[in-house]
């Protein structure tokens, strides 16, 4: 009996590993590709055996010549940083990176303010029209911003904000999802704590700062992680409201890499660019893996 269970357990372990490896294939091959010299292209098959492709001496000489000083030999294959250099030169990555950071941080900071204010009002205050207004707010969740690009694009034009950082951030400053999430959390804060703070002379601001916000940190973290990752990955909106590199975030920058390579995509460069773009979030995730997963899980159900 227990022997049988063990056998199943081993089978499940193997399946897990196999599935994880299968799922990691695109990343693994992307990383491999990004370090492979362009003169030694990956042709059918040789990607399997890592990079120990049977290069002819002439080909190897060409690789050595082109990658002079940038490549290393590892287990019989040449690895190079020249794709990163090339990808780096095609596009102003530091600018894109900065834009992504401005976008994500700018959205999050304002969101936290607007969301905290509204969440408190909906959680703890009574006022005529409250329930109706909450339902109106829900419309923002029901009609995703992405679907209203046509009219929102026109609005940004009218506001004269086309091709600015403001255009990226503005539509995301109000977050019904955040309001609902924090409202739920605030309602679980014992009301006696607010009363005690009020007796001590705290005003609205003091109550929020000393009672509600400190007691809701996990909800804020969850909200922040979801907000950061979704805006970091946002593509269509930035793509539409920006034209120049000045305001474009990383995702749009990456798509430009596809456009610049019209003579059949240069996958070595594209992969290097892709790795540049995805690394920050992957790092963030590995650091806060547990938090991330919990946040995503809670964000969906709320």
């Amino acid at each position: 009996m227990s022997n049988r269970r063990n056998r199943w357990s081993v089978a499940a372990d193997l399946l897990t590993v196999a599935l994880a490896l299968l799922w990691m294939m695109p990343l693994i091959f992307g990383v491999l590709m990004s370090f492979r010299p362009q003169a030694a292209p990956i042709t059918n098959g040789n990607v399997f055996v890592g990079c120990a492709a049977q290069l002819s001496p002439a080909q190897q000489a060409l690789v050595d010549q082109q990658e002079a000083g940038q490549s290393i030999r590892l287990l019989g294959c040449t690895l190079t940083l020249s794709n990163y250099q090339a990808a780096w030169e095609v596009a102003p990555w530091p600018r894109f990176f900065l834009n992504s950071v401005i976008f994500v941080v700018g959205v999050l900071v304002v969101q936290i303010v607007t969301v905290t204010m509204a969440a408190y009002a909906f959680a703890r205050l009574r006022f005529p029209g409250r329930d109706l207004l909450l339902i109106v707010l829900l419309l923002q969740i029901m009609i995703p911003t992405a679907t209203l690009i046509v009219q929102n694009f026109a609005t940004i034009r009218q506001l004269n904000l086309f091709d600015t950082h403001w255009a990226l951030m503005l539509p995301y400053w109000g977050s019904a999802f955040g309001v609902l999430l924090l409202r739920q959390t605030f309602r679980e804060v014992p009301y006696e704590l607010e009363e005690a703070a009020r007796i001590d002379g705290a005003g609205l601001f003091g109550v929020l700062r000393n009672v509600y916000i400190p007691l809701s940190i996990p909800a804020y973290v969850a909200f922040a992680l979801v907000s950061i990752s979704s805006h970091w990955n946002e593509f269509l909106w930035p793509f539409i409201v920006t034209r120049q590199d000045f305001a474009r975030p990383l995702t749009v920058g990456l798509s430009q890499l596809f456009e610049t390579s019209d003579t059949g995509a240069n996958y070595n460069n594209i992969m290097a660019g892709t790795i540049i773009v995805v690394t920050p979030l992957v790092l963030l995730f590995t650091l806060f893996q547990r938090r991330f997963i919990e946040s995503f899980a809670s964000s969906g159900i709320k």
Binding site: A12, L15, T16, L19, A20, W23, M24, M25, P26, L27, F29, G30, P41, G45, F48, T114, M117, A118, L125, R126, F127, V136, L137, L138, L139, I141, M142, I143, T145, T147, L148, I149, Q151, N152, F153, T155, L170, G174, A176, E188, Y191, S229, N233, F235, L236, I240, L250, T251, S255, F258, A265, Y267, V277, L281, V282, F285, Q289, I293, G300, I301
Partner: protein
């Protein structure tokens, strides 16, 4: 469950008349959110609806829009129409893409969750391996796959080749593009849905399984009679999420089939986006948006009725 309903009524009933200014505080607090929601959701939604009933003619001095009733909508489903003949096709593509994703990614996600919800060495690595696609920007995910799909260098054709199957033109053949982007989407979404199943599995009391095991129920029996029914709500929720995501996907197309003009593999939001610039399309893109939002509303309202309301009353 809901502590607030049993807690003392916040800001006790207004027996004492509070000063006007204080009565305005709630509105002041929600004002920023509402101004933003009005400008970027409510008004645009209303204008979308309005503009969908007008025809916009091009010209150096464009003539004022003309009210045409439902003509734009009728045109959208006219497969011989000069501007929007592909809309029906694109709508069906989107449905295919979304259904294809749901049918495969949800069972895979459940399988992943079952596999990870055990005692496992190096759990972090395997969890990362299965979840990381959900974290990538879609455009990054798509570009990783662009290489796997590519005709001559692509891994996929290499593998097929080693089995003696001819390589497929994954991205160039209009009939294949849809399959290709669906595969990428399954790969990307499965890990995301997995975490909801994981959360659901962890909420199931262990003694239920122990009791089932004592009754002699094996793995499949437990899965069918215990796990699946208990995860029904999660599954329903994920169905809604998967559908709403599916109808909003665009990035893969930008990366995987950027230059293609054929509409056989196109999806609805990307199709709308491609048609924004021309003035004569304005009525049509708005009508299409109305249809898209209408479809999404069906799912999100379902979601709300099934889950949010229940939450409130639990």
């Amino acid at each position: 469950m809901d502590t607030a309903s049993t807690a003392p009524a916040p800001a006790a009933p207004t027996v004492i008349r509070r000063p006007v200014l204080q009565q305005l505080i709630p509105y002041f607090l929600i004002a920023p959110t509402f101004v933003l929601v009005t400008i970027f959701t409510l008004l645009p939604a209303a204008r979308t609806l309005r503009d969908s009933f007008y025809e916009f003619r091009p010209g150096r001095v464009p003539p004022p829009p003309e009210y045409v009733g439902f003509q734009n909508y009728i045109d959208l489903f006219d497969t011989g129409h000069p501007i929007v003949s592909d809309f029906t096709q694109v709508l069906l593509n989107t449905l295919y893409f979304t259904l294809g994703t749901v049918v495969f990614s949800l069972p895979i996600a459940l399988g992943m969750a079952l596999l990870l919800n055990r005692r496992l060495r190096l759990l972090g690595i395997w969890r990362f391996g299965l979840f990381y696609p959900a974290l990538l920007p879609t455009i990054g995910a798509a570009s990783l796959w662009a290489f796997l799909f590519s005709n001559t260098l692509g891994l996929l054709n290499t593998i097929l080749g080693s089995f003696g199957i001819d390589g497929q033109n994954w991205l160039g053949d209009p009939n294949r593009v849809l399959v290709s982007i669906t595969v990428v989407n399954i790969w990307k979404q499965a890990g995301y849905y997995m975490i909801f199943y994981l959360a659901g599995l962890q909420a199931i009391p262990k003694d239920l399984y122990e009791a089932a095991a004592l009754d002699g129920a094996g793995f499949w029996r437990q899965l069918r009679s215990l796990t699946l029914p208990l995860l029904r709500r999660t599954t329903l929720f994920l169905l809604v999420v998967a559908f709403t995501f599916g109808f909003q996907t665009v990035e893969q197309l930008e990366a995987l089939r950027g230059g293609l003009t054929n509409q056989r593999g196109n999806l609805v939001l990307y199709y709308i986006f491609q048609r924004i610039p021309q003035r004569q399309n304005w009525g049509y893109v708005n009508a299409m948006t109305v249809i898209l939002v209408g479809i999404l509303l069906i799912f999100t309202v379902t979601n709300f009725i099934l889950f949010e309301r229940k939450r409130e009353h639990e």
